[in-house]
Symmetry: C2
Subunit: 146 residues, 2 copies
DNA sequence: GAGGCAATGACAGCATGCTGACATTAGCCA
DNA sequence: TGGCTAATGTCAGCATGCTGTCATTGCCTC
């Protein structure tokens, strides 16, 4: 029945708006002691997970955000000594964003908070449900990201 | 295995951030011709769904946002003639927010865009997956909302 | 009825997203 | 090689979240 899926979907969309706000609050609380915010948490995570090195527009593509928004965050984090801009052998103007020693230290501490948080919040959730949800979310992302 | 659920969950969280941005963009595109934005879409939806009438803090509680953020939106929408503040018999200062005739007209047109959008985007998704996802999202909301 | 605590309105400041615009550089194709 | 188009840096403006603060009103309890 279309109508019931329609209602389910609209409920899901509103719930996702709500959950997004709560997750940002969680991220802010978790990273507060480290001098981070949820926005910087996302950026530092993207850089830490990249193997080859990322430029500012590259981070923006990974996070699905505008390059201008990411640029503002990275500029602030470079100012704070967490990130550094390194010459990019492949591009004269578009520098690579890297973690400083301080940035790596923070990322390591971050994981000590983040990992238990992730484990704790999935204790009572079966893997199959997580997988179904993740698959559906990825499908929706692919659908809307054109 | 904890570790695999941990990774699934962190992947899910990042994906939800991404999807949230895409959904806001969808909402903006869908409501653009109506002179709305995704933020106003949420507010008008909350009011339209309420039977008893809502105050500004009441809308904020429904949406899980700060009352100040909602107040700014409703003030602008009253300015635009979409919403109106009505006396609240139960409270001298906290007025009720209602749809004007123009607001109801817009909400009806909105549904003509929103419903096909919801149906179209769930065509290839089984109901069971939608239900599983919605249930999981609600569980996470309950977990984080204290 | 009086007092105290919670809820609300109002204003301010800030963080984080977005878009637009413009100059410069890279990269590709004729 | 020359030139066109896309990608990038940069600055600006704006929308939408948040928090903090303070005065006022509601409500509950004593």
């Amino acid at each position: 029945m279309h109508s019931s899926k329609r209602v389910l979907f609209l409920d899901l969309v509103l719930s996702l708006f709500r959950l997004n706000g709560l997750l940002i609050a969680e991220g802010d609380a978790m990273t507060e002691q480290l001098g981070l915010t949820s926005a910087r948490w996302k950026v530092i995570g993207a850089i830490a997970l990249s193997t080859a090195g990322l430029t500012v527009p590259g981070i923006a593509r990974v996070l699905g955000q505008s390059r201008q928004a990411v640029q503002r965050i990275t500029d602030a984090m470079v100012q704070d000594g967490v990130l550094a801009y390194m010459p990019n052998p492949k591009h004269k103007r578009s520098v690579l964003v890297t973690l400083t020693d301080e940035g790596m230290r923070i990322y390591n501490i971050l994981r000590e908070v983040q990992d238990p948080w992730a484990i704790e919040n999935t204790e009572d959730i079966p893997s199959e449900e997580l997988e179904t949800t993740l698959r559906l979310v990825h499908r929706l992302i692919k659908k809307f990201d054109k």
